[in-house]
C-alpha cells in the first residue's frame, strides 16, 4: 500500500450530495450502518446491492481512496492494445447519486472492533454496525529478494491496475529490438490464476508486431499453472519460439532481482533483461491485517454461508482478501461473494429473506486476436468451506469460430460485471 502523507492530504471527501461528514456519532444510532472498505469488485458490488435492495433502510458508506477504479480485469487487454486505458476506468458517481451511498474518498487506516469504528487517514472515524472489508491484495514483504514496492518503477508489478499498468505497457513498447521481457510469476495462492499467462500472451502479441526478435522469459515457482495446456497450445500457434518458461525444476523457485542493474538471478545464473515484471507472493490487503481478521496464512478466514469473518461477527471479508475454500481469487468470484454477503447482512440488520448461498466463477483469457478461452465452476457452501460442485474449461483444438465467440462473450461479461458493480 502506498500510504504517503501527500496522498492523504490530496484525498478529499466524496462527490455525493447525500454525503454526511464522517464524524463519530456512536454506532446504531438511527438506521443501521454498513461500512464497506474498498470499492473494487467485492466492495462496490456489496455496497450497491445492499443500498439497492434495502429501500433506504440501511445507511451505506463506501471508503475508497481512488476516484477512478481501474479494473485489473481487462488490464492485460489494455497492455495488448485491445482496450484503451479510459475504457477500464470507472467512477463512483452513480453509486453516490443514484443509490444514495456515502462515497468517502480516503484510506481506512485502522479498525476499532470494540468501538465499532473505522479510522480514516484524514483523522475522522466512521461508525458501523456491520463492516465489510474488500481491500484486494498486498504483497508479501521479501517474497522476491531484491524487490520491494520502492522498486516498482524499475520493475513494475502491474498487479493493481492503474499507473502501474500504464508504466509496464510503456516499458514494453520502449524495449530495444531483440530485447528480453521477463516475468517473475507468483506462487499460489494469488489473484487471478490465469492472469500472469494472459499477460504473457498480450506482451507477445505486442512484441510480435513491433519487436519480433524479442524474447519472453517466465520465471515460475509453480510446477503447473491455470489453463496451462490451452496457453501452451496458443503460444505455440501464435508466438512460436518466443516464450520460454523456467519452472521450479530449473530453479524458477529460487529467484532474486537487482532493479538497479535490471538483472535477475535465477538459481545462480544472472540474466540482464530490458523489462522485468515482478509479481510477488500475495496476502490480504493490509487493512484486513490491521483489523485483526487475518490468520497466519496472511488471508482472512470466513464462513462459507455469508462471508462473515471467523474472527468477528460484525465483520465480513470479500474477494481476494478472504480465505473461503475453493473459489479462485477473481473479480467474478468477488462479485459473486458480494451478492451472497449483501443478502446475509440485510437479513441480520433488517430481517429480510435469505436463500441458500450460491457462488460461481468464470475467468476468460485472451491469447491472441479472437482467440479466447475460459474456465469456470459453480460452488456451494459446506460447513467447512466454499466447495466446488462442477466446472468446465475450454478445450485444446477448438475451432476459430468458437474461440472468437468466447472472446466476444468476455467483452459482454466485462460490460455486465462493471454495470453490476457501479450501476
Amino acid at each position: 500500500m502506498k500510504m504517503n502523507r501527500r496522498g492523504f492530504l490530496g484525498a478529499g471527501v466524496a462527490t455525493a450530495a447525500t454525503l454526511s461528514a464522517p464524524m463519530v456519532l456512536g454506532a446504531s444510532h438511527g438506521k443501521p450502518k454498513v461500512v464497506v472498505i474498498g470499492g473494487g469488485a467485492g466492495g462496490a458490488t456489496v455496497a450497491r446491492y445492499i443500498a439497492k435492495d434495502s429501500d433506504g433502510m440501511i445507511d451505506v458508506t463506501l471508503i475508497e481512496p481512488t476516484r477512478t477504479y481501474y479494473t485489473c480485469f481487462f488490464s492485460n487487454l489494455y497492455i495488448g492494445g485491445f482496450r484503451d486505458f479510459a475504457s477500464i476506468g470507472h467512477s463512483y458517481g452513480t453509486l453516490a447519486a443514484e443509490y444514495g451511498i456515502n462515497v468517502v474518498h480516503d484510506w481506512a487506516v485502522g479498525v476499532d472492533r470494540d468501538a465499532r469504528t473505522v479510522a480514516l487517514a484524514s483523522g475522522s472515524k466512521v461508525p458501523y454496525d456491520k463492516l465489510i472489508i474488500s481491500p484486494g491484495i498486498d504483497f508479501v514483504d521479501g517474497a522476491v529478494p531484491g524487490w520491494d514496492v520502492s522498486a516498482q518503477n524499475a520493475m513494475p508489478h502491474a498487479y493493481k491496475a492503474g499507473s502501474q499498468t500504464q508504466l509496464l505497457k510503456a516499458q514494453i513498447e520502449a524495449m530495444p529490438q531483440g530485447g528480453t521481457f521477463a516475468m517473475v510469476a507468483p506462487p499460489n495462492p494469488y489473484r487471478c490464476p490465469p492472469g500472469p499467462y494472459e499477460r504473457v500472451s498480450m506482451v507477445a502479441h505486442v512484441l510480435k508486431d513491433i519487436n519480433p526478435t524479442a524474447k519472453i522469459l517466465i520465471v515460475d515457482p509453480k510446477p503447473k499453472f491455470s489453463k496451462q495446456g490451452l496457453f501452451e497450445e496458443g503460444w505455440q500457434k501464435h508466438y512460436s519460439g518466443m516464450i520460454e518458461r523456467i519452472g521450479p525444476d530449473f530453479g524458477g523457485n529460487n529467484v532474486s532481482v537487482r532493479p538497479g542493474s535490471m538483472e535477475i538471478d535465477i538459481d545462480g545464473e544472472v540474466e540482464k533483461v530490458d523489462v522485468c515484471n515482478v509479481i510477488p507472493a500475495q496476502k490480504a490487503g493490509r487493512i484486513a491485517e490491521l483489523a485483526g481478521v487475518t490468520d497466519e496464512s496472511g488471508w482472512a478466514p470466513v464462513r462459507p454461508q455469508d462471508m462473515r469473518s471467523r474472527m468477528d461477527e460484525n465483520i465480513y471479508v470479500l474477494g481476494d482478501a478472504s480465505a473461503q475454500g475453493d473459489m479462485p481469487k477473481s473479480g467474478f468470484s468477488a462479485n459473486s461473494q458480494a451478492k451472497v454477503c449483501a443478502m446475509g447482512v440485510r437479513n441480520v440488520l433488517t430481517g429480510s429473506k435469505t436463500f441458500p448461498a450460491r457462488y460461481s466463477n468464470t475467468c476468460w483469457s485472451l491469447i491472441d486476436t479472437d482467440d479466447g478461452i475460459k474456465v469456470g465452476a459453480s460452488y456451494e457452501a459446506t460447513d467447512e468451506k466454499i466447495a466446488k460442485t462442477s466446472g468446465f474449461v475450454s478445450k485444446t483444438g477448438e475451432d476459430a469460430a468458437l474461440r472468437k465467440q468466447t472472446y466476444e462473450e468476455s467483452v459482454g461479461w466485462y460490460a455486465g460485471i462493471t454495470a453490476d458493480m457501479f450501476g
Binding site: S336, K339, K353, F392, L402, Q405, V411, G412, G416
Partner: protein
C-alpha cells in the same frame, strides 16, 4: 424382434411419407438441385453442417451465435429443432411452431437425408445423445414463478447478462415471454444446448427457480 416392444422412431423412417411432411416447410425452404434461399435457407447438405452457415442467407443473431458455439445439424439436433425451434435457438427467425408427432419428424429427417451427400453414411443418431423429446413438460411451463425469489437468483445472472438489456457478446434476457425463457433454460439443463457456462448455471436450478427467474426477467424493462 420381440412382439409388443416399441420400436425406436428412426427404424420406422420413411422418406416418402417424409416428403408429405416437408410440405409444412416448403413455404419457406427449398431442397434439390435448383434450390435457392427463400424465407429460409436452402436445406441441401444439411447433415454435419454448422448451423447458420449457408452462404448469402441472413440468419438471426441467435442462430449465428449457436452455430459459432458448436450447434451442428444431425438427426438428434434436427429432431429437437423441428419439434420446437425455440428449444435450440430462442429467438430464431424461423416462425414455425413445430411438429409434435415423432413419426412425422423421423420421416421428414429421412426425406432431408436424401439431399445430403452420401446419405447412407450418415449415422441415424449421435450415440452420445440419449434424451429425446426436448419440449418442456406442460406442467413445468405452468409453474408460476416467485419474482422476489427470481430477483435474488438473478444476481447470479447479471454478472454476464446486463439488466439494461445490452447484448454485446452475451444475449439479452430481459422482457422475454416466460415460456421461451423456461424452454431455453431447460434446454441447457437437459444438455440440448451445449454452451458450457449456461449448462453449468442451469444444472443447479430447480423447476421452481427457473420459473422464478422467468417471472423476474420478464418484467425488467429495457
Amino acid at each position: 424382434m420381440m412382439l409388443g416392444m416399441a420400436l425406436p422412431a428412426f427404424s420406422q423412417e420413411d422418406p416418402v411419407e417424409g416428403a408429405k411432411v416437408f410440405k409444412r416447410c416448403f413455404s419457406c425452404h427449398m431442397v434439390g438441385p435448383d434450390a435457392f434461399n427463400r424465407t429460409g435457407p436452402v436445406l441441401n447438405d444439411l447433415f454435419g453442417r454448422r448451423a447458420g452457415t449457408v452462404e448469402g442467407f441472413k440468419y438471426s443473431d441467435d442462430m449465428l451465435r449457436e452455430g459459432a458455439g458448436g450447434l451442428e445439424w444431425h438427426p438428434d439436433t434436427l429432431d429437437a429443432f423441428i419439434e420446437n425451434p425455440k428449444v435450440l435457438v430462442s429467438r430464431t427467425k424461423m416462425r414455425f411452431s413445430g411438429i409434435k408427432d415423432p413419426v412425422d419428424r423421423s420421416n421428414l429427417i429421412a426425406f432431408l437425408r436424401q439431399y445430403s451427400d452420401s446419405p447412407a453414411n450418415i449415422p441415424e443418431a449421435d450415440p452420445t445423445i440419449v434424451p429425446r423429446d426436448p419440449d418442456v413438460d406442460p406442467e413445468i411451463l405452468a409453474i408460476t414463478g416467485d419474482p422476489d425469489y427470481g430477483a435474488y437468483l438473478s444476481g447470479e445472472c447479471t454478472t454476464c447478462h446486463q439488466v439494461d438489456g445490452g447484448d454485446e457478446g452475451i444475449p439479452s434476457i430481459t422482457g422475454w415471454e416466460p415460456v421461451d425463457f423456461v424452454t431455453a433454460l431447460h434446454a441447457y439443463k437437459n444438455k440440448h444446448r451445449k454452451h458450457p457456462v449456461m449448462q453449468m448455471m442451469a444444472a443447479r436450478l430447480s423447476d421452481e427457480e427457473i420459473a422464478a427467474l422467468a417471472a423476474y426477467f420478464q418484467n425488467i424493462e429495457q
